[in-house]
Amino acid sequence: MEAWWLLLVKSVGLVLLLFLIFAYLMLFERKFLGFFQLRHGPNRTGPWGLLQPFADAVKLVFKEDIIPASADRLIYRLAPMISLFVALAAYVVIPVAPSSGSFRWGIADPNAGLLLLLAILSLGVYGIALGGWASQGKYTLLGALRSTAQAISYELAMAMSLVGVLILAGSVRLDDIVAAQARVPFIVLQPVGALIFLICIVAETNRAPFDLPEGETELVGGYHTEYSGLRFAMYYMAEYINMIVMASLLTHLYLGGWHGPLLPPVVWFALKVAAVLFLFIWLRATLPRFRYDRLMSFGWKVLLPLAALNLLVTAAVVVLA
């Protein structure tokens, strides 16, 4: 058990770090989208647009905070906080580098780290569902319904796909899982599982081509149509921090975590996470959006059976070998 002040410092540091990464993830997304789309992206605020996130933050803070007259005021205020809290809390159990002696690079180290993480992540849907419902709008309601259905159906396939990793690693502690990949990353042993997991995390974080809950051209802003100012920013932050969490998880589970030659572990970890995040952006720049019912049937009829099959085969091979 670490001293309370160290935990406090780590927690505050983690939140600040995540906010900073979020800010620049957004900038890089806009920049890369710009490059994909034959344009420049933000380049007016600071050199190479580097101050853009701060300009955005200032703008959002000073926006009028509007609560629709018919909204359920308490839940309307609470919902974005749930989303952001859940996104931030998820990172608590993710270590970014191996423990060196008594010092640990994560905040908490529960035995069932991965299970706790999944449990926290599945709370995120409350933020969206409640926000959409409390706004009392038709577009928001439809958006909330969509995202609830989507999150529930993709969580199942996601959990199923990573059981294969757990069997190979023989532990649900993230440190142990990463340690088990010292020689070969699990993506080599579990290619199908890794693919399913990747698809599921894209769907879980509501990113293109699965960005239905907020499908702008259909449902305007989806569940956050009515939100403005800081509350809107909270949803936005939650979405991007979720992306970071999921990318980190993918790195730990399939890409060998911080293992890598020459460079220090933290750098390897950061590089891998950045590569996964770039993949998110690339997908967004390239693919059209799925249709809602297809998304559901894809999740239930393709991904889930495939994940189950993957699990069976993995288990059989581990038992027989």
Binding site: L38, R39, D211, T217, T286, P288, R289, F290, R294
Partner: protein, 427 residues
């Protein structure tokens, strides 16, 4: 007689009348009779537009939903009424071109062309050969530009963001050509009664050829991104199906009609501007769904490029305006030396020319379908009436037929593949 025999009504309601009013009020407040198929309370009425991101301007569609399935869609238009037809009646024949430009703002040159052809028909004018060929070239480039906007916005609506930027970037090349020729990118007013506003600049042909040279490669890129993209096919195949009969009954024209397999293209059926000389195909669809409409428009762009190539090949130097001084402005340099030219100039600018009384209908194939100009002259210097048959107006009324039974997400695909322009729907 019975009415007259009645006694004058008392001002205060009698007790009997009070109950009658209560009955009426009770009826008015009572819930509407329920629908046979599904109870009304299970339906959600959603107002999409007029300021919704994917209504392509200012369309409002009132949809009734069961879950996310559209059971009823009612388009509502009129949010962009500009009175263009009426305005045209107050302008000289030549000036009216500038307001008619702004109807279908995505293909202003088609509007130009239809109108000037109609007026020329009334005047019995034959434009010089060079003007005719340039009109064909620009009208076909306009078709490509308009379809590119359609491609970009449709892809954006279906979530393929980047295609939007690629399409607009390619369209820039065409707008540059317009700018080079007329000085304006969006509303060129370049075709005039009797010919063209001015001749093409010297390097224009080279520019146009350069554009055509890069065009097939860029089209191949679009096709590589979308043609066989599973998500794209999933979003468009079997969506918004219209049979040939339905399409004809709804009065549809253009790519919408041809996607349903009806071979009607004004350029073929009633050739104008010498379209009968050019070799081109009229692409037809088989299913009449959104994917066919996509393919038809893509093929049309390629065919238009073919027409432009043929027309460029037969472009020869020559006058671009009739030399009738009662219609065409005299050349600027003559004004300084010729009294007669000065008088003509003054007369044309201040008073305009007169058009013999009569009425004509001239249809052309705009990117959206048959755009018709019914132009009536009473013999004066201004049109007596310019009635436009805008293709989008007819195409928009296909929304209920196409959307009912589909999901809200498909409504977006359906609206997008109709490609309506509300400037011309409302005029």
């Amino acid at each position: 007689m019975a009415m007259m025999a009645r006694e004058p009504e008392p001002l205060a309601p009698s007790p009997a009348e009070g109950t009658a009013r209560q009955e009426v009020e009770a009826l008015a407040l009572a819930p509407l009779p329920k629908d046979q198929e599904a109870p009304l309370e299970e339906r959600l009425t959603l107002s999409i537009g007029p300021h919704h991101p994917s209504t392509h301007g200012v369309l409002r569609v009132v949809v009734e939903l069961e879950g996310e399935t559209v059971v009823k869609a009612t388009p509502e238009i009129g949010f962009l009424h500009t009175g263009i037809e009426k305005n045209a009646e107050y302008l000289l024949w030549q000036q009216a071109i500038t307001v008619l430009d702004r109807m279908d703002y995505l293909s202003p040159l088609s509007n130009n062309l239809g109108y000037v052809l109609a007026v020329e028909k009334l005047l019995g004018l034959e434009v010089p050969e060079r003007a005719r060929v340039v009109r064909v070239i620009l009208a076909e480039l306009q078709r490509i530009a308009s379809h590119l906007v359609w491609l970009g916005t449709t892809a954006l609506d279906l979530g393929a963001q980047s295609v939007y930027f690629y399409a607009f970037e390619l369209r820039e090349g065409i707008l540059d050509l317009f700018e080079e020729a007329s000085g304006a990118r969006m509303n060129p007013s370049y075709f005039r009664v009797g010919g063209l506003a001015q001749d093409l600049p010297e390097d224009w042909e080279a520019m146009a050829r350069a554009f055509l040279a890069k065009f097939p490669k860029r089209m191949a890129e679009f096709r590589a991104l979308l043609d066989r993209n599973p998500i794209w096919i999933d979003r468009t195949k079997g969506i918004g199906v219209l049979t040939a009969q339905q399409a004809i009954a709804l009065g549809l024209t253009g790519p919408l009609l041809r996607a349903s397999g009806v071979n009607y293209d004004v350029r073929r059926a009633f050739p104008y501007c010498g379209y009968e000389r050019y070799e081109f195909e009229v692409p037809l669809g088989t299913q009449g769904d959104a994917y066919d409409r996509y393919l038809v428009r893509m093929r049309e762009m390629e065919e238009s490029a073919r027409i432009v190539e043929q027309a460029l090949a037969e472009l020869e130097p020559g006058p671009v305006m009739v030399d009738d001084r009662k219609i065409a402005l005299p050349p600027k340099e003559e004004l300084k030396v010729s009294m007669e030219a000065l008088i003509h100039h003054f007369k044309l600018v201040a008073h305009g020319f007169e058009v013999p009384a009569g009425a004509v209908y001239q249809a052309i194939e705009s990117p959206r379908g048959e755009i018709g100009f019914y132009v009536v002259s009473s013999g004066g210097t201004r049109p007596w009436r310019v009635r436009v048959r805008p293709p989008s107006f007819y195409n928009v009324q296909a929304i209920p037929a196409m959307a009912e039974g589909h999901l809200v997400a498909d409504l977006v695909a359906i609206l997008a593949t109709i490609d309506p322009v509300f400037g011309e729907v409302d005029r």
